[in-house]
Amino acid sequence: MALLEVSNLSISFHTRHGVTKAIDNVSFSLEQGQTLGIVGESGSGKSVCCYSLLGLIPTPPGRIDSGTAFFAGQDLLNSSEEQLRQLRGNKIAMIFQDPMTSLNPFLRIGEQMIEPLIYHRNSNRRDARKQAIALLEEVGIRNPQRTYNCYPHEFSGGMRQRVMIAMALIAEPQLLIADEPTTALDVTVQKQILELINQLRLKRNLSVIFISHDLGVVADVADQVLVMNAGRMVEQGTTRSLFNHPEAEYTRKLLAAIPRGNKPTANRATVQTLLSVTELTTRFKTYHQGKQDELIAVNKVSFNLQRGEILGLVGESGSGKSTLGRSLLNLIPPSSGSVIFAGEELVGKNQHAMKPWRRRMQMIFQDPYASLNPRMTIYDALAEPLLLHGITTKKNLEQHVLHLMDDVGLARAYVRKYPHEFSGGQRQRIAIGRAIATKPEFVVADEPVSALDVTIQKQILELLLNLVEQHNLTMLFISHDLAVVRYLCDRIMVMRQGQLIEIAGTEILWNSPTHEYTKTLLSSSSTALG
């Protein structure tokens, strides 16, 4: 008999705005020691599905309409809250997406870790402590004795996720539900955490439900895969068959959306340098408990950018890649060095002197929810740069704005709407429209697709490629995702801790990286699907 058997599960949410079906007739089962991957985009119901099994969705507004769920013979949907509580953290444990917010910042790590033992096993604190320290060691925490008495804020994201895993496994559960456990982590750390989960799983014969939006990660870890979309099961099967011979249309679309392969090398007749950066350095003053400190975010970076080129800039969080992008545009004034754009030195120019140059260089931001003024209609947002730089007359303004809408693939009818009435992908289109409104020569795109679902991501990437082609744009494309960069860029530049590690043509870097760090980065991000 399967360890977990879910059949015909349907869940709906009843709010003032009406009834939404979150889960519609979902069935799956999981054997002891197996890993089930649940894949879907945001809003697909992949998390709700698992949370509901443990009574972790608020009811009301949530309501389980039908279905059955048995865990080791226990009827989950007809269990009392108390019976479910006995199960949680004891037989079924969970880890979550964001390790920065999932640990209680007010309690010591040890105190949080031993709670499952104390409340489920009636252990005394001394034994619990011993077990916790042993487990901390097992998940790869150095100096577990000290860690036991530390607070979460003293650790990095990767370390906290290790603590979360240790905490989840301390009461020896049979099933681990991992909800996007590596999404918030850097790619090299992600690799380590996935390996850790895999090791622990094998050693303990643990069953795992692995929820993720990332097909590549799921392909790496899961035996069985369940694809969900809009609350419904799309397809289910073994990992191999599902990824090799997807049957459902949606699965194929998902797989096709994964950026694959490289950009065909463009043959440009003339090579013309648009941007020349020399020894660019940006420092921040930080104040910490009254002491002034200095952080060198960008450290003596030099490179050139050719007209019509897309240069990828990759690095992990804290590498200084965003600061570099903003320093080029003088949004963050550089401390020293030189940025020569179309023959003109930009470093040292004040905001006023920058104004004529602003028309020629633009930026696309990461978070489409924050990069649009929520109180302006799309029309106003797009009209603002056009009027400011005198690109069009008042009379032609409307036609011009509508053409921009066409350019970025938005229906003209939406032009009087406000940003909050659009989805993330649509908002990113608006933001792109605003950036290309002034017909710039150079665009810095700072992680423009990392907040988007994979199918939307694909569309936005296509849009960017088209626009680069049409308008002969030069682009600095900042990303943490190597596959995306490879798909889009002519050359790739790797940054780490403010320094430029390596810069080379995409395929050269991909196939024969020279720097050790680049090798680690590449090996971490390669997946079964890559």
Binding site: F96, T101, P105
Partner: protein
């Protein structure tokens, strides 16, 4: 931690100096002196009186000598109560005011937090609406209205409690403490409720639930601590309000406390007593603000360890 306390103490020095200087010159520049009301005073006597209290010296000299006296903890003699020093007068008022303030604080914290927790645990039900509507009444009902109304209802009509006094008849401390504490209880209740609701929606509470912890532990061990920080931070400034509120309550219920001295001193233009009690209040307020800041920081491990996170 010590650095934090140190820097806060340093910050308190300009505050105190401004308070002293402002009060000193305000009082001196005010029309009418302490001896101008006594019409019968012969000019010579007035001059002699002024000389006795050094009022004939240049202002800055007076200010300097006042400061140096203060540094030695000497508030000077009272103008209106001949032969008594301000220190004595303040010392006489402290016990009643301190006791009243203490009880009011207890009322505020116990009543307020209980109401806030009850409301936050079942939001949008009658267990939320009832305490929160009462809190709203507490906020909209100023001390000087609530006090007389309580006296009217419980003292005069129902005759359950004494009408005024402090420590003379059993039960006469109930109404003043309740009156003074009520508004603060209301604020504490609102802060506790919103703080707790905010914390209960955090990811780490979901983690605690996923660990299968009993509800009681989740609320009191995991959630309450974080939601207490705004409450504790409020209590410092609240104490300042409590003190200034205390002179209304002391007047209404005829409590022989500092507040009454202060109001009388202000009306009498008793320079040294005004100055003394203002400085004394200011010091108390600074100390309590510091205490509540330190306590709030201590509740937050990030600030406590002083390591901080660079991200």
């Amino acid at each position: 931690m010590w650095r934090f306390i140190g820097s806060r103490l340093l910050q308190a020095i300009p505050v105190l100096f401004i308070v002293i200087a402002l009060t000193f010159f305000l009082v001196r520049f005010a029309p009418g002196g302490p001896f101008s009301t006594e019409k019968a005073v012969v000019p010579e006597v007035k001059r002699a009186l002024e000389a006795q209290y050094h009022l004939d010296q240049p202002l800055l000299v007076q200010f300097g000598s006042y400061l140096s006296d203060l540094a030695r903890g000497d508030f000077g003699p009272s103008f209106k109560y001949p032969g008594r020093s301000v220190n004595e007068l303040i010392a006489a008022g402290i016990p009643a005011t301190a006791e009243l303030g203490f009880y009011a604080l207890i009322v505020a914290v116990v009543l307020g937090m209980t109401a806030g927790i009850v409301a936050a645990l079942s939001p949008n039900t009658w267990r939320d609406y009832l305490p929160m509507s009462s809190a709203m009444i507490g906020i909209c009902m100023p001390t000087f209205l609530l006090g007389p109304l309580l006296v009217l209802i419980f003292g005069l009509w129902l005759e359950w409690t004494p009408v005024s006094g402090w420590g003379e008849v059993p039960g006469d401390k109930i109404l003043p403490s309740l009156t003074l504490g009520a508004a603060y209880a209301a604020y504490v209740a609102r802060l506790t409720r919103s703080g707790l609701l905010e914390v209960l929606s955090q990811d780490y509470i979901r983690t605690a639930r996923a660990k299968g912890l009993p509800n009681f532990i989740i609320v009191f061990k995991h959630a309450l601590r974080g939601s207490l920080i705004p409450v504790v931070a409020f209590l410092g400034p609240a104490f300042a309000g409590l003190l200034s509120g205390s002179f209304v309550v002391e007047t209404i219920f005829q409590v022989p406390g500092l507040g009454r001295f202060f109001v009388q001193a202000a009306f009498n233009r008793d320079y040294t007593l005004i100055l003394g009690s203002t400085v004394f209040f200011a010091v108390l307020i600074v100390v309590f603000n510091l205490l509540s800041d330190v306590l709030a920081a201590w509740l937050n491990p990030r600030l406590r360890s002083g390591l901080g996170d660079r991200s």
